[in-house]
C-alpha cells in the first residue's frame, strides 16, 4: 500500500534511531534528519508521505518545518511530537495544518495510532482524488456520448428520405429536414424556429394536424394516409403521411408529421396500368381473331343473301341480307371503338346531360334484338335524376355494354320456362353520386366466372364475345371516378351497379355566360 515512507526529525539522535527501528520493524520505510534544516532537505529529496517531527529543536524548529513542508506539499501528513504540557505550540501546530500530535516520551502504541490515522487520511484523500478524477472522465465520456447520440439523431432526421416536420407545443416548427424542404420548397433556415404550422401548411391541412393534437390517440396508432398536399407556392403533391402526437407525462409537447412524396410512385402506377392494358389487348388478339372471323361470316353470308335477293328480285331477301351486313358493320365499328377506348387513356368529357334520357336511347338501340329473343326490357327511372354534369358517353357505353351482357345472360339460360326480363334503374345515391343498375334474371354466374369477370380476354361467349366489354366498361367508370359492383346468383340472374359522381347542372360555367 501507499503512504509507506516516513521522515523522522528529532535533535536527539537516540530517539530518531529508536523510532526508526521500531517503524521499520512495523514495515515502514524510514528516512531521518536531526534538525529542521536537514529535515527540509531530506523531505525535498525523499518526498515522504508522513513526517514525524519534534517540535522543539535548535535552529529551525518543528513549527517552522511544518510550515515549510505544507508550503511544498499541503497534503503531507505531519505528526508533531510535543513535550508534556506544551499546549500552546500544539494548538499552533494544529492551526498550521499538523494532522496529529503525540506527547513525549513517544510510546510505540501512541505513534502507531497516529500513523494509522495519518495513513487512513491519506488513503481517503487518495480515494477521493481517484474518484474525482474518474468522475471527470465519466462526465467527459457521458458528454461525448450525449453529443454523439444527439448528432446521430440529428443526422438521422437530416438524412431521412421521409420528410419530417415537427412542431412544439406552440406550433412552432422545430424540426424540418431536407426531404421536407424538397417537398415544401422553403429553405430550412427560413423555417426552423421561425415559421409556425400556419406558415407552412395551407389552412385546411394545418387544421387536420391541429385537430390530431386534440385526439387522445395512443402513440402507436399511426396509420399512413394519403392526401394531396398543397404547398404555399401552390404546387400539388400527392403524399402519404403519418402524424404522431408527442406527449411527456401526458402533457402535449408537440406533433411530428412524416411525409412521403408519392409523385414518382403515382407516375409509375399510371405507367404500369397503361402497359398492363396494352398487354391485355395483346392477349386478347386470339379472342379477337375469332370475333373478327364471326363478323366476316356475317358479312359474307349477308352479301350472299343480298346477291340472291337482287338476282331473284326478292325484297325480303334483300332486306334480310342488308340487315345482316349493317349489323356486322356496326359490330366492326363497336369493336374498333372498344379497342381504342381500352388502349388509350381518356379523360371524361363532362357536360350537362340527363341519365334518364340516355337510358331511353339505349333501350331504343336494343329493343329489336331483345324482342327477337323474347326478352323484356323494363325501366325504372327516378324522376329526381334530372339534368346533371356527367360524361354522357361513359354512361351510354357502360349501359349498352351491361344491357348487351344481360341479354346474353338471358339467352344463355337453359331454363326456357322463365320470362326473361332486364330492368334498368336510375337513382340518386349518396351525396354527389348517381347510380344506375342493370339487373337481369338470366343464367347468373358461377364463382369462377365472377372471379374472372374483369380479366382481359375472358369471355363466356366463345367467338361471339371479345372479352373487352366489361373491361372497357370498368375503365370508363374508373376514369369517371366511379365504381362498378356486381351481385349474381347462378341460375337466378345478375345485377351490375354503377355509381358515378356528378355535379349539379346549373353550377353555371361563367365563361359561357360571358360570351
Amino acid at each position: 500500500m501507499s503512504a509507506n515512507k516516513i521522515l523522522i526529525v528529532d535533535d536527539e539522535e537516540i530517539i530518531v534511531r529508536l523510532l526508526s527501528m521500531s517503524l521499520k520493524s512495523d514495515g515502514y520505510e524510514t528516512v531521518t534528519a536531526f534538525n529542521g534544516e536537514q529535515g527540509l532537505e531530506v523531505f525535498k529529496a525523499e518526498s515522504p508521505d508522513i513526517v514525524v517531527t519534534d517540535i522543539k529543536m535548535p535552529g529551525m524548529d518543528g513549527l517552522e518545518l511544518l510550515k515549510r513542508i505544507k508550503e511544498i506539499n499541503i497534503e503531507t501528513e505531519v505528526i508533531i511530537v510535543t513535550g508534556h504540557g506544551d499546549i500552546d505550540s500544539t494548538i499552533t501546530a494544529l492551526q498550521f495544518g499538523a494532522s496529529d500530535f503525540i506527547n513525549k516520551p513517544v510510546r510505540d502504541e501512541a505513534l502507531a495510532i497516529a500513523l494509522e490515522r495519518a495513513k487512513a487520511k491519506i488513503h481517503i484523500r487518495e480515494r477521493l482524488e481517484e474518484y474525482t478524477k474518474n468522475l471527470e472522465i465519466k462526465i467527459a465520456e457521458a458528454t461525448r456520448e450525449i453529443r454523439r447520440k444527439s448528432n446521430f439523431q440529428r443526422l438521422l432526421i437530416h438524412s431521412s428520405n421521409d420528410a419530417i416536420v415537427a412542431f412544439d407545443q406552440d406550433w412552432k416548427i422545430v424540426v424540418y429536414n431536407p426531404a421536407a424542404a424538397s417537398i415544401f420548397g422553403e429553405k430550412p433556415s427560413d423555417v426552423r424556429n421561425k415559421m409556425t404550422i400556419q406558415d407552412l401548411y395551407t389552412p385546411d391541412i394545418a387544421s387536420i394536424f391541429m385537430a390530431e393534437a386534440e385526439k387522445k390517440a395512443e402513440p402507436e396508432d399511426m396509420p399512413w394516409k394519403e392526401m394531396v398536399l398543397q404547398t404555399t407556392d401552390g404546387r400539388k403533391i400527392p403524399v402519404q403521411y403519418a402524424t404522431n402526437v408527442l406527449r411527456e407525462n401526458n402533457e402535449f409537447m408537440g406533433i411530428v408529421n412524416f411525409f412521403q412524396d408519392l409523385t414518382e410512385i403515382k407516375r409509375l402506377e399510371k405507367e404500369l396500368v397503361q402497359s398492363e392494358r396494352l398487354a391485355a389487348v395483346g392477349q386478347t388478339v386470339s379472342g379477337l381473331a375469332h370475333y373478327v372471323k364471326n363478323i366476316l361470316i356475317g358479312l359474307k353470308g349477308g352479301s350472299y343473301v343480298v346477291d340472291v335477293g337482287m338476282k331473284k328480285n326478292n325484297t325480303e331477301k334483300l332486306k334480310t341480307g342488308w340487315k345482316t351486313i349493317k349489323k356486322n358493320i356496326s359490330r366492326v365499328s363497336d369493336l374498333t371503338q372498344d379497342l381504342l377506348t381500352y388502349s388509350k387513356e381518356r379523360e371524361p368529357e363532362f357536360e350537362p346531360c340527363s341519365p334518364n334520357e340516355i337510358v331511353e336511347d339505349v333501350m331504343d338501340l336494343v329493343s329489336d334484338f331483345a324482342a327477337a329473343n323474347d326478352i323484356k326490357i323494363l325501366k325504372q327511372t327516378d324522376p329526381g335524376v334530372g339534368e346533371m354534369i356527367l360524361d354522357p358517353q361513359t354512361i351510354h357505353r357502360a349501359l349498352l355494354n351491361l344491357v348487351n351482357n344481360a341479354m346474353d345472360a338471358c339467352m344463355e339460360d337453359e331454363d326456357t320456362s322463365k320470362t326473361f326480363e332486364i330492368l334498368i334503374k336510375t337513382s340518386m345515391d349518396t351525396e354527389n353520386f348517381m347510380c344506375f343498375e342493370v339487373r337481369d334474371n338470366g343464367c347468373g354466374m358461377d364463382e369462377e366466372t365472377q372471379r374472372r369477370l374483369f380479366n382481359p380476354m375472358f369471355s363466356t361467349k366463345g367467338g361471339k364475345g371479345t372479352g373487352l366489354g366489361l373491361l372497357v366498361t370498368k375503365k370508363l367508370v374508373e376514369e369517371h371516378k366511379g365504381t362498378i359492383e356486381t351481385k349474381t346468383h347462378l341460375g337466378q340472374g345478375t345485377s351490375f351497379v354503377v355509381r358515378l359522381p356528378y355535379q349539379k347542372a346549373g353550377a353555371v360555367d361563367i365563361k359561357e355566360d360571358e360570351s
Binding site: 366476316l296 361470316i297 350472299y304 340472291v308 339460360d413 367467338g463
Partner: protein
C-alpha cells in the same frame, strides 16, 4: 318432294345465309335456334340432314351431336358440323368426352369451318343426300 334440311345455329346471320343457300338449291329449310330446340325439331320433323353449329347457348352442338349418334333411330341422320371452331379443337373435345363417358362416338360425316362459300356448302349437302 324437296328434301328437308335442318339448320341449328344461334346466329341469325348464319341461319339466314344457310336458309337462302338451301332455298336456292331446292331444299326445304327448317331452323332451330339452339340444341334443345334442334332436338325437338328432329324428333318432330325428321329432317334428311342436320347442319349443326357447335358453340350455342342452351344445349350445345356437341351435346346434340352425341345425343343423335347414341340414339338407335336418329343416328342414321347425316350431320354436317358447321362451325367457327377448328376441327382439331372439336376432335379433342370429342376424345375427352369419349374417355369421360365411355364408348366412342363416330366422327361427323362432314366438318365445315366457317366462313364457307355457298358452293362448298351445297357440294357437302349434295354429297350426303343428293
Amino acid at each position: 318432294m324437296n328434301k328437308k334440311v335442318l339448320v341449328v345455329d344461334d346466329d341469325p346471320d348464319v341461319r339466314s345465309f344457310v336458309v337462302t343457300v338451301l332455298e336456292e338449291n331446292q331444299y326445304t329449310p327448317l331452323v332451330a335456334h339452339d340444341g334443345i330446340e334442334g332436338l325437338e325439331m328432329i324428333e318432330k320433323s325428321a329432317p334428311d340432314l342436320v347442319i349443326l353449329d357447335v358453340l350455342m347457348p342452351r344445349g350445345s352442338g356437341i351435346r346434340l351431336y352425341r345425343h343423335l349418334k347414341t340414339d338407335d333411330v336418329l343416328k342414321n341422320i347425316p350431320v354436317i358440323m358447321f362451325t367457327g371452331i377448328a376441327l382439331k379443337s372439336f376432335l379433342k373435345s370429342q376424345k375427352a368426352l369419349d374417355e369421360f363417358k365411355g364408348g366412342e362416338i363416330p366422327r361427323p360425316d362432314i366438318y365445315l369451318e366457317k366462313p364457307v362459300e355457298p358452293e362448298e356448302l351445297v357440294r357437302a349437302i349434295q354429297k350426303k343426300i343428293g
